[in-house]
């Protein structure tokens, strides 16, 4: 297969690389291109060939959103300049390849923080807009695109357009999974902070109803709010959880020792997870033990504890390549939302997952606030649950299909940035603006230049 590859450009040669998402399932091969200027990016879009191209950031999407089998994948991480910071007004203009980690390094000393951060700092601004990411502050601040004042988009025709909120192209791009074009730069409104520390309240909930009652009653008092659920707990303890909530600590809450450098940004890192780990490391027993310990080590109730940014927002970032823990077979992350008033569906699903005994590390439950206008944007007002499950678990595909049905019937949806397995038939029910998205794409990109494995799989 290799001798004649040079003479035939249609057949893949050595410049192709196998690409997967963070979950390491469904690998496909693509030509990786790393543009170092806007001109190179435009050239890459023009030359990406019959199987099209898709922008990729730091590869933290769990599924196949930033893969493009047989085509081009545009690695945008070389375009990583921070162009301008308005330290008075609280805005930043930067390239799409800049990571949230980098933004925090630059902005925190100036007293500003990113408006929204997911569970990892290692996502790019372009990816954050493409997936319209949310964080622990969604119930207060909405998703990432709400804080984007403008962006520059390289579209299929090779043009660079300035896109502002309130326009169809903005709403298709926010959450559009990179399929409307390549985001080159973005202007983002920032969050003012007095210190780089978080003031954190922790409490335990004994079961799911207790948890939901606590979240519903007091969420509005916290900017950041999240609950870690032990989905291996059964019986009366089903849905037992640790709630962690807080806000940026004001300067006067700091002890004198920390007041000398209140905006310091420290991010300890452990050695990377080894490339090869034994299969079956994550069994029901090991994960169950871990969950038990995690639950027990959390204080029953503690308020005002000072914590750094990294352990509060991004506990897993301290362990590079933690995704390898799931072994060669990889894992799927399942995140869904069901609206307020559909708590019955949430209870049923949590019970089914608990009964199924999926070896899932602490799952994450939180409440979403108002949704944003992105047509394929994930958050809607309601309850969202996210969990990781090893992909090799027998019968997992069929089990998750059943959950999808239940979620769709309850008017809920799953998150495309994490998906690697949804049945395409359910997509339109979950995302009512799907037809608008398809129609805009057909008009903006008639030749289908922008395409990904996700787009092929779900006919986006």
């Amino acid at each position: 297969m290799s001798a004649d590859t040079d003479s035939d450009p249609d057949v893949m040669g050595l410049d192709h690389t196998t690409v997967t998402g963070w979950g390491r399932t469904a690998p496909t091969a693509a030509r990786l291109i790393r543009p170092r200027s806007y001109e190179e990016a435009a050239a890459a879009v023009r030359d990406c060939g019959a199987r099209g191209g898709i922008p990729r950031g730091l590869g933290r999407a769990y599924g196949d959103a930033a893969q493009n089998a047989g085509g081009s994948v545009l690695d945008m991480t070389a375009l990583d300049r921070v162009h301008a910071i308005d330290a008075d007004g609280g805005t930043v203009l930067c390239d799409a390849g800049v990571s949230l980690h980098r933004l925090m390094e630059v902005l925190l000393p100036l007293g500003w923080f990113v408006p929204v951060t997911p569970g990892t700092r290692y996502v790019t601004v372009g990816g954050a807009i493409g997936a319209d990411i949310h964080g622990k502050n969604h119930h207060v601040s909405g998703s990432f695109a709400r804080h984007v004042l403008a962006l520059e988009l390289l579209t299929a025709d090779g043009e660079i357009r300035t896109v502002i909120p309130g326009t169809p192209l903005f709403d298709a791009t926010a959450g559009g999974m990179g399929l409307t074009g390549v985001i080159l730069t973005a202007t983002i409104r920032l969050q003012p902070v007095e210190t780089s520390l978080m003031s954190v309240d922790t409490e335990r909930a004994t079961d799911l109803d207790d948890l939901m009652a606590r979240l519903a009653a007091t969420d509005h008092r916290y900017r950041y709010s999240v609950a870690w659920i032990d989905l291996l707990a059964r019986g009366a303890a089903t849905g037992r959880a640790v709630l962690t909530r807080g806000d940026h600590a004001p300067l006067d809450a700091l002890p004198a020792r920390l007041r000398r450098d209140p905006l310091a940004f420290r991010t300890p890192r452990l050695p990377a997870t080894p490339e090869i780990l034994p299969e079956g490391l994550l069994s029901r027993t090991t994960v169950g033990l871990f969950n038990e310990l995690w639950y027990r080590k959390a204080p029953r109730a503690r308020t005002g504890r000072l914590q750094r940014i990294s352990p509060f927002f991004h506990p897993l970032d301290g362990v590079p390549h933690w995704n390898r823990v799931y072994g060669r077979g990889g894992f799927v992350q399942y995140q869904f939302v069901v609206g307020y008033g559909r708590e019955d569906a949430l209870r049923r699903i949590v019970r089914r997952i608990s009964e199924r005994r999926c070896p899932s590390f602490l799952a994450v439950l939180k409440r979403f606030g108002e949704s944003d206008p992105g047509w394929l944007s994930f958050p809607v007002p309601g309850w969202t649950l996210a969990l990781d499950i090893p992909a090799g678990l027998p019968g997992l595909g069929a089990f998750l299909d059943e959950l999808d049905e239940e979620i769709a019937a309850a008017g809920g949806r799953v998150y495309l940035a994490k998906d690697a397995r949804l049945r395409p038939e359910l997509l339109a029910a979950m995302y009512p603006r799907l037809d608008d998205f398809r129609e805009l794409r057909a008009r903006l990109d008639p030749r289908g230049v922008f395409v990904s494995d996700l787009a092929r799989r779900l006919s986006l």
Binding site: M1, V11, A69, G70, G392, R421, R457
Partner: protein, 251 residues
């Protein structure tokens, strides 16, 4: 595209009336597969197989394909790939032949060899090339335990499967890193039309069991699947028996 569990949305079956292939297609349609291409010699049996799969909700097309006419493979299979991505190719055609007759009539023996080996080399290479330019897909090749060591009772069939098996192994290595996955399936005695009337071998299995093993292999991206799995150990032992002993075994 395949999903996180390796399940294909579109399937091309070479040997569209094979019972093992159809059992596999039924299983995959129950999961994710929506488009099926059944390639084989035009016949009422091929149309009937297509009709049955349509009844399960899949969009099924039949394609006139003849393993014994390699010159046509490029054109015939090229048309299928031109219609859209093929996530999985199941190479399942093959002849068992009649050992006694084939020993007497070399031309009949050659037909077995040409179908099982030459035809598969040609179709396998054509599909591999298309899968490679897609950058993804699985090529699942139906080999046989008979290819693992030639037996007196069916060495003509066995030798053709040995050739196919070696070809598929090499092809899998050639395609490593291209996003294409080659999986060799080595079933033992499968109860089908092909083996009807033959004395049943130990560890006999069914088309449905082969289909289950294929689904599991896709999920794990396995390179070699034995059906049933215990055959891996049994054959490892048999392979190393001295010939003087092997030839006397009642297998």
């Amino acid at each position: 595209m395949k999903d996180a569990f390796g399940l294909p949305q579109s399937l091309l079956v070479l040997g569209g009336t094979s019972e093992i292939a159809l059992a596999t297609a039924r299983r995959l349609i129950a999961r994710r597969t929506r488009t099926v291409w059944l390639a084989g010699r035009p016949s009422p049996a091929l149309e009937e197989a297509a009709g049955q799969l349509r009844g399960l909700g899949a969009d099924v097309h039949t394609v006139a394909f003849d393993a014994l006419d390699p010159a046509s493979h490029e054109a015939v299979l090229g048309k299928v790939f031109a219609e859209g991505d093929v996530d999985m190719v199941l190479l399942a055609f093959g002849l068992l032949g009649d050992q006694a007759r084939d020993e007497r009539e070399p031309e009949a023996a050659v037909r077995v060899a040409q179908t099982n080996y030459t035809g598969a080399v040609s179709a396998g290479l054509v599909c591999a090339r298309s899968l490679q330019s897609q950058g993804h897909g699985s090529l699942v090749v139906m080999s046989s335990v008979a290819g693992e060591r030639a037996r007196r009772a069916n060495f003509i069939y066995g030798s053709s499967k040995a050739g196919l098996d070696a070809f598929a192994q090499g092809l899998g290595d050639a395609l490593h890193g291209t996003g294409v996955h080659v999986m060799i399936v080595r079933p033992g005695f499968v109860r089908t039309r092909m083996t009807a009337g033959l004395p049943e071998a130990p560890l006999a299995t069914t088309p449905e069991a082969v289909a289950t093993a294929v689904e599991l292999g896709l999920r794990r991206r396995t390179e070699t699947v034995w059906v049933p799995g215990t055959l891996r150990v049994v054959m490892a032992a048999l392979r190393h028996l001295p010939r003087a002993v092997f030839r006397r075994l009642p297998v």
